[in-house]
Every structure is written in C-alpha cells, then in structure tokens.
C-alpha cells in the first residue's frame, strides 16, 4: 500500500496516544507496587526505607484474611454454579424444542447489561422480602447472576460452531442422548467452559458494586479495601492492592491464553 505523509502522521499521532493511555492504565499497578516497598517524599524515592515488611504484616491482619477467605469462597462458588448453569442453558437454548428462547436469553444477559446498582438493589429488596439475612450466600447469588452472561456466551459460541454432523454421527453409531452429551458434546465444550469459569472467577474477584448492596456485615476484599481507603493511604494498603492486581491479572491472562486461537492465519 502506498503511504502518504498524512498516513504517517496519523500513525505517529495515534501511536503516541496509545502509549500515553497505556501508561495511565498501567500506572495503578506500578504506583502501588512502588509505594508498597519504599517511601516517596517530594518526588524522591527514599531507598533506605525499602522493605517487604508490609507484605508480612498483612497476613496478621485478621480483617484482611477474613475478607480474602470470603472472596475466595464467593468466587469459586459463583464461578462453579455459573458454569454449570451456562452449559445447561446453552444446551437448552440451542435445542430445537426450546420455548421462550429469546426471553430466556434476555434474562441471562440482563444482570450483565444493567447498571450494577440496579442488580444489587433488586437482590437486596428480594432477600429482604424473603426474610433472608444478607450473608456470603446472597453475595454468591449476586455474583452468579452477574457472571452467568459471560460463561453462557462462551459456551454458546462454541456450541454453535460445532458441526451438527458430529451429533448425528454419534446417534448413528448407536450412542444414547446421555452418551452423546458425555462423550461428544462435553469434551468439545470443555475448554470454553474452563475459559468461562476463569473469566467468572476474575470478575467475581473484583466485583464491588453489587456486593456493596448484598454483603450485609460480611466483607469481600474489594469492600475491605474500600473501607480501608476511606481511612487513608498506608503502605499496607499498597501491598494488598499490589497482590490483588497481580492475582486478577494472572487469572485474566490464563483465560486469554485459552481464548487465543491456535494456528491463526496471517493476513497480508
């Protein structure tokens, strides 16, 4: 392709914007990592204050450990339940005998599309009406319906990409419905289920807005951080923040590496 000067200017300008914005987007992890090990005064790094002490004291902070345990329980339960539901719902909505397919699909996507404040307070009102105390269980329900859309979408896309001949062949070879599901469909869906579960874990790990309505007296890690933030900035928070960022980025990268198409054809 011929390149004019205008094209080159556009290329350089957008490159500059991209680099600048990526720096801003990644500043959180850099800033908190640096502040967690050294003190900075008047723009100067005080190297003599370098210490990993704040990471150690974090483990003796009972409220942080409690919040961490809650977050782990909620993330694992909601990702697990959402994955099972997603497979079930995807198989159902792709089934030729399904009723009210559009309405059901809309219902699945709604909590993800709506502002989280609406989902959060809808659950709060419903649990109050049902005389259900707010607890880890209500947080799990809230996170499950929030991450369900992502898990469902991934499984559905894979399911729709499967050639129908695969299932017909399975039936022709004498497999029962159950055997077809167990030995043909599920192995083909496995990686999309795993990717969905990982994304669900990541989303649940960070979820704050819905949790703030349904958590009651329980604390998840983001809620704990929010409470600590209101008090002020301490190196201990920075240590916690660095760990939180590393965990969520690791989860997201793991999901991304699963999503990456293998043997991608090169263009041009």
């Amino acid at each position: 392709m011929l390149r004019t000067r205008g094209d080159r200017i556009a290329e350089y300008a957008t490159c500059a914007v991209t680099v600048l914005v990526l720096l801003v987007l990644y500043a959180p992890i850099l800033v908190s990592a640096v502040f967690s090990v050294v003190e900075i005064r008047r723009g100067e790094i005080l190297w003599e204050t370098f210490t990993f002490r704040h990471y150690v004291t974090l483990w003796s902070n009972a409220s942080v450990i409690d919040a961490l345990a809650n977050t782990a329980i909620v993330a694992i339960c909601s990702a697990g339940i959402a994955s099972i539901l997603a497979v079930l719902l995807a198989l159902y909505t792709e089934w030729h005998g399904a009723i009210a397919r559009t309405a059901l699909t809309l219902l699945i996507y709604l909590p993800f599309l709506l502002p989280p404040i609406v989902t959060g307070l809808a659950l709060l009102v419903a649990s109050a009406n049902a005389d259900m105390d707010r607890s880890v269980l209500t947080i799990i329900i809230g996170h499950t319906i929030f991450v369900l859309a992502v898990a469902y979408r991934l499984v559905l896309t894979r399911l729709q990409a499967l050639p129908p001949t695969l299932i017909e062949a399975s039936f022709d070879l004498g497999a029962s419905r159950w055997q077809t599901l167990r030995y043909v469909l599920l192995p083909h869906l496995a990686s999309s289920i795993l990717t969905g579960a990982l994304l669900a874990l990541t989303l649940s790990f960070d979820e704050t807005l819905i949790s703030s309505f349904v958590a009651g007296n329980e604390m998840t890690l983001p809620l704990r951080l929010w409470a600590m933030m209101r008090v002020g900035f301490t190196p201990e928070i920075n240590a916690l923040v660095t760990l939180v960022l590393l965990v969520s980025m690791a989860l997201a990268l793991a999901a991304a590496s699963l999503l990456r198409p293998k043997g991608e054809p090169e263009e041009d």
Partner: protein, 280 residues
C-alpha cells in the same frame, strides 16, 4: 419433537433457577418502587408518589440530569481517546497487534476499587500529577483542582471505562474486509477519504456498543463519585445508594433506580437498533 407437556416441563426445570434469582428480584424491586416507607416499615399500597416526588423536586431532578450529562461527557471523552487507540492497534500486524490488544484489554480485569484508589492518590495534593506539574514548572505549587470535584469524577470514570470502549471498536474494525480498503485505494481515494467513507461507517456498530457500555456503567456508578467527587461531584447513583443506607427510604431509592433502569433499557434498545441498521 417431544410432546407439548414434556417441553413445558423441561422449560420449567431449566428456567426455574434463572427466574428465581433474576426475574423475581427485578420484579420485587419494581414493586418496591410503588410502595412507601413509614417509620422503617414498608407499606405496599401501589402509589406513584415516589415518582411524583422525584420528578417534582428540582434537587433530585437536576442531579439526575447532571448525571446524564456527566455520562455523556465520559462517553465523548472515551471515544475521542479510545477510537485512535483502537485504530492504531488495528493497523498493526501479527504479534504486535495481539500484544497491544492484550495490553488494552487487561485493565478490564484490574480491580475497580484499586484503580479508584491509585487514581485518587495520583490526582491528590501530593500525587504524581501535581508533583510532575510542579517539577516541570507548569504549576508553582501543588493544586487542589484535580480532586474532589465533578472534573475528577469525569477523568477517573474515563480512565476506568476506557477499555470497554476500545475493545468493541477494535472488534468492528477487525471485521472490515481488507479487500474493501484496497478497492477504495484502487479507486483513487486517499488515506483520509478511505477512513471517512469506508472505515468510520463500517466501525459504527462497535463504536455504538462501546459508547453504550461506557454510558451505562458510568450511569450507575456510585463509588467513583463518592471517592473522588467530594461535595460537588454528586450523582444519582450516590443519591440512590444513600436511600438504602442513612436515609433509609427504600421505596424512594427503588423508584429512582427504576428510572435509571428505564434509561439503560431505552439506550440498549436504541443502540441495538442503530447497530443493526448499520450492519452490512
């Protein structure tokens, strides 16, 4: 095909759980919006008084309109910054493109509250922004203007919701067949003409989707305004949240959230319509 009865039974079995945990809560919150609160008790008497109170009170109404305006600003700013980024990533090839795409997507999964926390410390009096401006000689001394006002909310929301705008735009750019670009060049169009007449119109569905994401997310956000907005950065999300805390008027809070829900649904439908009309 199984019989009608069996199909109904299977539907009931599959849809029961989603209905109980999604449909019932949404329904009960809408019912709550037409109830009224009296001394910590909720009385269900099907009244539209909450909506009348909201629409008739200029303080609430102006906060709501101000929030809509703020969301619009967030959308415009993220499009102005996000579109060039998506375009640049799209122009790259093979590994560079994939790496940049991942770098742009990864912040989606960085903890929201953590981003808020670091942005707040960066914009603060002793923050990086002030320190940089002072050491560059642009400012004489650290300034308070970056934090605890409406502008701070705008900047913070844009940074947080930017990746939601970049990704859909990139995805719709990626769907444009290379042959169309070559045809445009062959027919004598320059870079700018190709962009304006081919690339920009074809990337509209993604641009609309990105704008929708940013708008809806900013609309219901109540933690960002609370953490960086100070007293002037008041949004409808904060008002709603306070009804479920100190003010303790759940029906009133529910009615405001119902209006929020209506706006979000209208936008989703409108965006879906606009995007489908532009599909080739």
């Amino acid at each position: 095909m199984p019989t009608r009865g069996l199909r109904g039974l299977i539907f009931a079995a599959v849809a029961a759980l989603p209905a109980v945990v999604i449909l019932v809560p949404l329904g009960s919150f809408l019912v709550m919006s037409v109830a009224r609160a009296e001394k910590h008790r909720i009385i269900y008497d099907w009244t539209l008084q909450n909506y009348v109170n909201f629409l008739g009170n200029w303080t609430y109404l102006s906060t709501f309109l101000g929030t809509l305006w703020l969301c619009l600003e967030v959308v415009l700013l993220s499009l102005i910054v996000g579109y060039p980024i998506a375009w640049y990533i799209w122009r790259q090839k093979s590994w560079k493109r994939y790496a940049l795409l991942q770098l742009a997507a990864l912040p989606l999964f960085m903890s929201y509250i953590v981003k808020l926390y670091t942005l707040r410390s960066m914009l603060g009096l002793n923050g990086l922004v002030n320190q940089a401006l002072v050491s560059l000689g642009i400012l004489e001394q650290p300034s308070q203007v970056f934090l605890y006002n409406q502008r701070a909310v705008l900047i913070t929301m844009t940074v947080i919701y930017l990746p939601y705008v970049v990704l859909p735009i990139f995805l719709s750019l990626e769907r444009i067949p290379r042959s169309l670009l070559q045809a445009s060049t062959d027919l004598g169009a320059g870079g700018w003409d190709t962009f304006r007449r081919v690339v920009l119109p074809l990337s509209m569905p993604g641009t609309i989707a990105g704008a929708l994401f940013a708008f809806v997310l900013a609309l219901g956000d109540f933690i960002t305004p609370q953490m960086v907005g100070g007293t002037t950065g008041f949004t409808i999300g904060r008002v709603i949240f306070s009804q479920f805390g100190l003010a303790f008027d759940w029906p009133f809070g529910a009615s405001m959230a119902a209006i929020l829900l209506l706006v979000a649904l209208l936008l989703i439908v409108a965006a879906g319509y606009a995007a489908s009309r532009r599909r080739v």
